[in-house]
Symmetry: C2
Subunit: 355 residues, 2 copies
Amino acid sequence: VRIDGTPHRTIELLDGHVRVLDQTVLPHQVQWRTLNTLDDACAAIADMWVRGAPLIGVTAAFGVALGLRADPSDAQLAHACERLLATRPTAINLAWALARTRTLLEGVAPPARAAAALVFAVQMADEDVLINRAMGICGLQLLSALAQKKGTVLNILTHCNAGWLATVDRGTATAPIYAARDAYIDLHVWVDETRPRNQGASLTAWELGQEQVPHTLIVDNAGGLLMQQGKVDVVLVGTDRTTANGDVCNKIGTYLKALAAFDNGVPFYVAAPRSSIDRSLDDYRAIPIEERSHREVTHVQGRAVSGALESVQIAPSGTAVANPGFDITPARLVTGLITERGVIVPSRAAIAAIF
Amino acid sequence: VRIDGTPHRTIELLDGHVRVLDQTVLPHQVQWRTLNTLDDACAAIADMWVRGAPLIGVTAAFGVALGLRADPSDAQLAHACERLLATRPTAINLAWALARTRTLLEGVAPPARAAAALVFAVQMADEDVLINRAMGICGLQLLSALAQKKGTVLNILTHCNAGWLATVDRGTATAPIYAARDAYIDLHVWVDETRPRNQGASLTAWELGQEQVPHTLIVDNAGGLLMQQGKVDVVLVGTDRTTANGDVCNKIGTYLKALAAFDNGVPFYVAAPRSSIDRSLDDYRAIPIEERSHREVTHVQGRAVSGALESVQIAPSGTAVANPGFDITPARLVTGLITERGVIVPSRAAIAAIF
């Protein structure tokens, strides 16, 4: 993440310490937190100091390394992986990163495990950046063609934060946007605020601002009208898990935008690194949908007039709440998947072909 | 509005004073405000102490009466109507109520105008209640049939507040809900919070709570998933303006719910009193869409830990914002219009037949 002009990653190894940017206090405060233990890593994921499928995976890999520092035994390795896996149920990257880490470390003698785990976590972070850069290049061709066809500023709508802040660097859905900006393509991004946690308002708007990409914040309800009015040229989102047939599980509300895009002939693309594709699931029906805290709906956090971060209650006390975190965009509504191996149609055959 | 068990209307004439329930501080405070002047009435509408198409219309009629107290001249009548008309551009009821009031008063000699205007405003309030009761009865048949077919609790999803608080009493979209509750139909309401002003979280949840109707608050993003999961049996919303062909202009985000309902085979009904139907417009293209304050998006009001009402900022300072207040649900996505003359299909012929 470039912060006030200086490049940063969202998770960094600094003098042997793992530190992460605390995303719960953005955009109001830039606060780094050091992770020293397995507990710290679990808290970082569960309490969403870090979020976004790719970043969660990398943080988990660092978490295993931290968990093995004092006790590199097989039992502790298993325990660390189980604890980390339980922090968030929907994102496939978490399970994928932990499975890779565990398999690798089981082949390493316990005394060498902590060091090997750290090296592997760093490699995984580097790999994430390379993958995102590759997705950026594939997506750039797409945006470039759309921009050329339009001949004037290209309007992109995005939901939630599949940005820099959801990854180690560059982002998934934002990678093509940053690549297009770097290629001098004239573009503008509609940013869905993304209730209930407002990742669009607090994270995407902030990172696009830091990168000086022109953008406009809207409520999640507004995207349909903007498409009806011809003000959206392409929708670009991320995914927490995509199934073998191309069904896309992503932040709650994504499906509504896909329906509106379809209804208005607006192309709908999903940035889906291969790590987010779960080929073990035939279609969406087996994806667990995380139910999150009711307080995310009844209370909103922001900066009060005093400058302090405060939560205000917006619903009557005692109101019943449902808060599912994700929904499913069926493959039939998806124009294409932007992967690090190219842009593909969301079909079983095309997905199989990139593995 | 029944408040702590005592029935109230949202606008009341008390000892010659007009008073309205200030909806900007609900659900945290129950605060009545007295309107003494035309300025007060304009502020009540523009600042949304009162909102909802029917209630705006009735408040405007009272506003004309207040404006004529000191000066009942033709010039003042014209001035009052123009000022009130300018407060909110989208709702047709405002124009309709003012046109009726003006036509009637132009036929009254100036000395008698203020009294006549007050009598007419009271009549219009009573008429609103009767219309809503009639819509409730028509909608009840519909909900009753759906409940019978389902055999268990009927799940209704609603967007924004087309309730008691949007009218003088009973509500438009809520009228069938209250009628069904009175008829002992087992029902449950999903309440969209309705960003940016959160009328669902702050008003609909509050009034359903006061009336002890079972309900669950959700973010606007969640309705699509709930429909995918079969947890919504019918969608019921209001309208600010419906055109001669049945296109429905309503609170921003309504269109997205209509798309999801259509995609999942869920019936989508609009409570549309004849006063909300603008037969002068052939279709949606001529409806002005109100652009509202950017602060509604960047700041959220609620109750702080201290108990005081506070606004917190959720976006980075200086973020550009777009805040359209309404969108269009094309007639093709609407199952039926619930009017005071019966439930009709949203077609030009069926609409013409109820006038």
